[in-house]
Amino acid sequence: MSILVFLEQHDGQLQKGSLGVLAKAATLGEPVAAAIVGADAKAVAPQAGEFGAATVYVAEDELLQQARPQPRVDVLAKVVRDGSYDTVLFANSVLAADVAAGLAARLDAGLNWDLADVELRDGTLVGKRPALQDSVLVDVGWKTTPRLALFRAGSFDATPAGGSAPDVVEVSVELAEHSTAATIVGQEQEQSTGPSIEDADVIVAGGRGLGAPEGFALAEELAAALGGAVGATRAVVDAGWYPYSAQIGQTGKTVSPKLYVALGISGAIQHKVGMQSSSTIVAINKDPNAPIFEFSDLGVVGDLHEIVPKLTELVKQQRGL
């Protein structure tokens, strides 16, 4: 087996998730290679060695500076072909998912996604995928090579393996016309304000089911009664109902409080990945089919606008507030 790991970097920072995948790949027994694309690729390449990469391919072309997926497909396709890699691993992110799927189509290669783990069984690679709101654990495989795998965020710890300095190979790639057609013309970094929700023991989070921005008053009152913080889904943050600093999910914060109360949240996978390790999850939603009920300890089907004010009062009484 010859494994290539896509290492995602932003502003010279190798992303922890992809380093975790690299560390895992290094335990599978063969020398592992990594690919880093973008402005600071060469500068961060030595770090990849510490996590187990024997060879690091770097591509720093001007057109690769923007974090766009399609030029990265061009780079990886060339590296995979030239180096005859039979396995390509990715850590899930907004960028990496698009790169992995694009590469699958380019190479007509099988992609198994949302994997939580991978193992060698009698010399054959087997992926582990918790599916259907984690109600079933699926073992998946590949019929042909190259095999492509996209791992869930946080699947593996990024533990340095203490490897030596890697061979660094510069790659020059001719980019496809369609790969460079889309360009980033503006960027806003979001600054977090207010207390961090990552350390809160109790989080009351709201989604579209709150009905309107004013609905967050219900979440705030309940959070105050429980002594917790307020969280929000991407949908309501994008809609401007609540600040980005409170956003929980794939593109927001990952939290694991003792108690997570979800108000009017359907439980889309992007949200779930940010809160699924909460110890106890209570959900209130009017849709009995909402996916969130599949991974809640207590699910209440009903109108949160009726239930939450009563709940807040009862909690206050109970806690003597």
Partner: protein
């Protein structure tokens, strides 16, 4: 302008995998994937009062026609269903191949996807289809405008917001934050029946049966097992006492 919207017919409620075939159980009633409704809505919003044509495209069993009809009832103009026994069990590589062939035939200026399938949690198809069509792709669109042969997308990533521009033709996957999908009106539902609805086979698309379905797939499901239990999940309906029930639950767990 012509907009094609890719939609999926998914099982209603909690999806399950059939232990025999190791495929998603599609025996029950299905529904339009809720995230695809955002893509249909966005196409209709872009269309507005213009003469833009909105075509909804799906690959699935014959029953998927129900979901296409829902999109037509919302206001789409025409539906194309690729339905072929030989296409069942397609993975990403095979599905993207068949869908791309159907989209190639339409030659749309803009192809829209929803952010994920609610059944298999798949959230990668657009990038594979875009690669096959050799078009630029932008995912996670939270705002979309089209003007003078190019599009502009605002999207959220792990690092904040980005604005991206791309020339048409292009592929865009919208997030569920982009809009609130409309409900079909009674008039829309009545009118949907009269709108053109084509059903195509793989042969109609010029795709060889060996390139689709399980035969054309490069991944395989090896085994199914029960995951480690999360502990019992309780679900109750509010009968007026739900607030008390929650407090009792929290007290029992010593969370108050």
């Amino acid at each position: 302008m012509k907009i094609a919207v890719c939609v999926k017919h998914v099982p209603e409620g909690s999806a399950r995998i059939d232990a025999g075939s190791k495929r998603l159980d599609r025996s029950g009633e299905g529904a339009l994937n809720r995230f695809d409704a955002n893509a249909v809505e966005e196409a209709l919003r872009l269309k507005g009062e213009s003469d833009t044509e909105v075509v909804v495209v799906s690959m699935g069993p014959e029953k998927a026609a129900d979901s296409l009809r829902k999109a037509l009832a919302m206001g789409a103009d025409r539906a194309v269903l690729v339905s072929d026994d030989a296409a069942a069990g397609s993975d990403l590589v095979a599905t993207s191949r068949v869908l791309a062939a159907a989209l190639e035939r339409e030659g749309a200026d803009l192809v829209l996807f929803g952010q994920q399938a609610s059944d298999g949690d798949g959230a990668v198809l657009w990038a594979a289809v875009a690669e096959r069509l050799r078009r630029p792709v932008v995912s996670q669109a939270a705002a979309l405008t089209v003007e003078g042969g190019s599009l502009r997308v605002k999207r959220q990533t792990e690092f904040g917001y980005e604005t991206i521009e791309a020339p048409l033709p292009a592929v865009v996957a919208v997030s569920d934050a982009i809009n609130e999908p409309r409900y079909p009106s009674l008039k829309g539902i009545m009118g949907a029946k009269k709108k053109p609805q084509d059903v195509l086979s793989l042969a109609d698309l010029g795709v060889d049966a060996s390139a689709a379905g399980e035969a054309g797939s490069q991944t395989v499901v090896l085994a199914l097992a029960d995951p480690p239990a999360r502990g019992g999940t309780q679900k109750i309906e509010d009968d007026g006492n739900a607030a008390q029930a929650i407090v009792d639950f929290l007290a029992e767990k010593r969370l108050l």
